[in-house]
Subunit: 243 residues, 2 copies
């Protein structure tokens, strides 16, 4: 009775670990959000698919649990890392009354890491990862995190910077970070990481504001006080000594 909660990475199979591939191959049932199940369709031939559309996270976990309780081995797939804003947590919560179900989380490359690689090396020093989605988190809490993380001089990685309904959150985030960081701070963003149309852009903190190029498939990076642009790459030095 086993559920693998599998991070398949950003999309391209070259970023999927052998451990993730093996978990999918060992499973009878593939569960997950339709779009992600579709990303691995080359690997799911002959397997039972239990997919649901967006925003039905709890339902999807229950489906995976039910399949497992029927005696099947289940791979519950997530994009990026299943453990970073992923389904690994809800899966553990939904299966709480079934301690006999073994849940194995198989890590994947999350957008902070795959996006950083596209831009250069922005995460060489301490960083904070913040989602700007206030669907499940009060916006005041997100504002507080942005403000304090900026004050602490963390490099910032922003997930879910925008959606169709949330168009102003990123501008507000830039405003909050700008209270303790220069508006010329080197920043960057990456669209469609590891998928068709991948594109990284290096810019300033000011240029993140009112930026129509940034959408829901974008991950945003805000440099710390030491971050610089070297040959077009966003680079945060490791420490405070000269190289």
């Amino acid at each position: 009775m086993k559920i693998y909660v599998v991070g398949i990475g950003p999309g391209d199979s070259k970023f999927m670990t052998p451990a993730a591939k093996a978990a999918i191959e060992k499973s009878d049932v593939i569960a997950g959000y339709t779009l992600y199940v579709d990303l691995i369709k080359d690997m799911t031939c002959g397997k039972e698919i239990r997919a649901t559309s967006m925003k039905k996270e709890v339902e999807r976990c229950r489906m995976a649990l039910d399949a497992c309780l029927e005696g099947k081995t289940v791979a519950f797939v997530c994009s990026g890392d299943a453990g970073v804003y992923g389904m690994a947590g809800i899966m553990c919560q939904v299966a709480e009354e079934h301690p006999e179900v073994e849940i194995e989380v198989v890590p994947g490359i999350t957008a902070a890491c795959s996006g950083a690689a596209v831009l250069g090396a922005p995460l060489i020093h301490d960083f904070a990862v913040i989602s700007l989605s206030d669907l499940l988190t009060p916006w005041e809490k997100i504002e507080k995190r942005l403000k304090l993380a900026a004050e602490a001089d963390f490099v910032l990685v922003l997930y879910n910077p925008k959606s169709k309904k949330r168009v102003m959150h990123l501008d507000r985030a830039v405003e909050l970070v700008g209270m303790s960081r220069d508006m010329n701070t080197p920043c960057g963003y990456v669209k469609n990481i590891g998928r068709e149309g991948e594109r990284g852009t290096v810019c300033t903190l000011a240029e993140l504001s009112g930026n129509d190029d940034i959408d829901m498939f974008t991950t945003v990076f805000i440099g710390n006080s030491q971050t610089e642009v070297i040959n077009g790459r966003l680079v945060t030095p490791r420490g405070y000594r000269d190289v």
Copy 2:
């Protein structure tokens, strides 16, 4: 003229992406810290090895650059993700005067992700990654980050929690976090992630202090105000609504 800066993941080849494997295979020269080059010795047969011992980061990057300038394709290997406290940054700095050298960062699974998977799902909400090594960063700066990140209710991931010389830093970190977080907050740590002797332990914030089980090969996780233990797993809920 190309240098791949390659994150090979925590150690076990099942966590190394096909992109990392391909970069190593395409390269003439393998550069890196002796220990990491050794981790991939199955893949380096017939290739030229240029390895140095610990703490010679800049020298290692210069060696990689020299090999590249000789016309060779180089894979510079790092454990975890080359872009998280890794060599991708120094490599860009050292190669600054050679914009003709193409540097491609190949992301890997960093300890925050691989360690979280061992413990359960601690990183389902906003988190901050902090290194407790004050070798290149003033300790006051690290203290400030710990304090503000705790105040902001981030889940915390601590890299380099101890070394032979730094034995008290983690205790001080616990003290600082404890100023704004309950000492019973669910926490955890993972030793030897993805290597022989891997072991995850769930504990409280108080139990991280004076803990002799934690060493330099350990990654530490401190839950936020919502983190709980479910069937022995460390789980941070995704939001503030009930499942």
